[in-house]
Amino acid sequence: MKSYEELWSEMAHEADEIGLVELPTASLGAPPERPQAVQRYQRAVLNGTVPLLLFALMGVLLNQWGSLALVIFAGCLVSLPFVWLIRSLLPTEVAVRPLWLIPAGLLAGGLAEVSSALTSLLIKEPEVTVHLAVEGTQRSLERFLSPLHLTAYVVVGLFWFLFLPRLRRTLYYLDTKPVARGRRVAGVVALVVVPAGLLAWLALSASWDERHQEWFKEMEGERFASFSQPGLSTLPFSESLINFPTLRLTGMARTASAERERGAIIPRSDRERLGRALAYRLNSLGINNRGYQPLSQLYIRFALNFGFEDYPVLDWPHAGWHLVNALTSLPGSQEELKLRKEELDQLRQAIPTPVEQIDRLVLGLIADQYYEPQPLTDAWGGRDGVRRGLRVLGYDLKLSPTQFEKRFVNKRLLDFWLNLREEMVGLTPEQQRKRLAAEFGPAPHGYPQTLRDKYIHEWVQATSVDKLVPYLETAELVLRLHESFLKTGRYSEVSTDARWEIGIEGERFTIRDQEISSPGNTWKGGK
């Protein structure tokens, strides 16, 4: 019996002996030198490029369904380079290894979704564009990692898995091209090294250094104090306007002011609600109402503590006017006059310096308690969206791209503020304001152009609270006039500088303050 090897050898020998009719190869002509378009397409199908592209386009359509056709089109275009890069990471004969294709397809689809989100950005400010890009990335990732999308990818992937052997047999003559080494390196760098490096850099950049820690320590009272007034944050604004008794409203405002003076941080929404309610009540009372004066005092104290910029219903010039107005009626006794003087002193002391005011704003921003400059608030569609964790299959992870980005921006902001702060500490409030204003870049049409300018603009607005000082000085003059009346029974001239024009007619007086712009710079008072 012949061995196994001998049998094969005999068969090979038999094949060598077979003589066939010569092939008329000359009639075929020269072999074509370039592949036709259809052959290029077939090769792209087999080497995995076309399936990856289909995955990516599916991702764009799933993500952008209902968006503008232009956005979808742009998303499809942007997905091409991602597919090109991902393809370089796959084995040459990807078509025979479909299990490679499914995760690569998922990645291509996800990146294409992210890229399509970037195409909808039309804002020119770089910081806001970056911010929106990061937000878009997070939202796209969340959509991509949703059960619906993952199911769609897996179903299409399995379909490809089943369809592939048939296709491969049909196109057996194609020789798939191996990816060039240079392109493979570029793919690894673009898809692995750069994102990993970026994440590492972000993580390192977003950590607080010693200088920041010192500032936090200084601000410790602000940072760690908390305030909670039962029912305050859950109270609907309309209800507080219509139904809340003045007494309860003023009680809440007193508590809030006292807590603030103690160093507590109160959520902006609560402050706004309460401040608006106070201002509305103050305006509706009318100046001759008995309750006007104490409420006016309370409101000003409240507004001084939390910043007048929050309350457009009654902003700081109005508040100052109300303050002086509240003092123009003659006090009934020396004791009442003394109380008013004390109240006025307290108000003057309560006015924060620009540095103190900005410290609060920056701390609040970092502690996520209040204050978010435009247009970030609009861009996020509400403050709640800013620092949410990444949602994967319905579960929230602790970290997310937006959180990283927010920490990075916060650190840059704090660095900027600490540098500026070093220069401002030791200056008078007026000098501090001027120094701050000097940082404000050119603002065509009156609007700040960069995010940095927007922050400074907000700070300038917030620090303008000490523009209330002239009103307090006028209020002090009024009290001096009242003091002279209580001593002598009539108003008499008091020594002032040329800033004020005082007119006295028996038991009545008129004051016009030239430092304050008209209208709203004249008060009449007396018995």
Binding site: D16, L20, L28, P32, E93, R169, D175
Partner: protein
């Protein structure tokens, strides 16, 4: 990838390169030098009278798609791939008829014809997957990598299947000790 059977095909790569460049005479040389290889692939897989069809169809495909062969030294396994697939197509049109060993009493089991017939019969009883692997490995002497390339399979799969296929073939031919 290097072709493992150097002797008959050693200068094939040069001719392939020239044929890819559009030289008619180079293509004729490619056909002339590689023709035996196609016959070796086809002989155990199709009927004798179908060999002509397989060879013609194979070289027609080679002529059409030679330009997209990436590396000239991959020509042998690439040609084997095309030949295997052409055999498959021809067999689909006219299935191979191999008489059962139990009913064929006219052939002397000790003769050479009987053993060759037995080898063909035993090959037909294997799965197509295993049959193709064995033909390329045993008859053409391709390396594992070349067989994997020719049959579009992972190398690991080729390594594991070839052992199994050999054992099965020997068992069919009662050659197993």
């Amino acid at each position: 990838m290097e072709a493992s059977i150097k002797d008959p095909y050693s200068d094939l790569s040069d001719w392939v390169e020239r044929a890819k460049g559009g030289e008619v005479t180079a293509f004729e040389q490619v056909v002339k030098k590689s023709r035996k290889l196609v016959i070796k692939v086809a002989l155990p897989l199709v009927e004798r009278h179908q060999l002509e069809d397989v060879v013609q169809e194979t070289y027609l495909k080679v002529h059409q798609h030679l330009h997209q062969l990436q590396k000239a030294n991959s020509f042998v396994p690439w040609l084997a791939r095309i030949a295997v697939n052409c055999c498959h197509r021809v067999r689909k049109k006219t299935p191979l008829v191999v008489e059962s060993r139990e009913t064929d009493q006219t052939v002397d089991p000790t003769s050479g014809l009987a053993t060759k017939l037995d080898l063909r019969q035993a090959l037909q009883e294997l799965k197509e997957f295993d049959r193709n692997i064995l033909v390329l490995r045993e008859l053409l002497g391709l390396s594992y990598e070349e067989v994997a390339y020719a049959l579009l399979l992972p190398v690991g799969t080729v390594r594991s299947r070839i052992h199994y296929a050999r054992k099965k073939l020997k068992k069919r031919m009662s050659l197993e000790e």
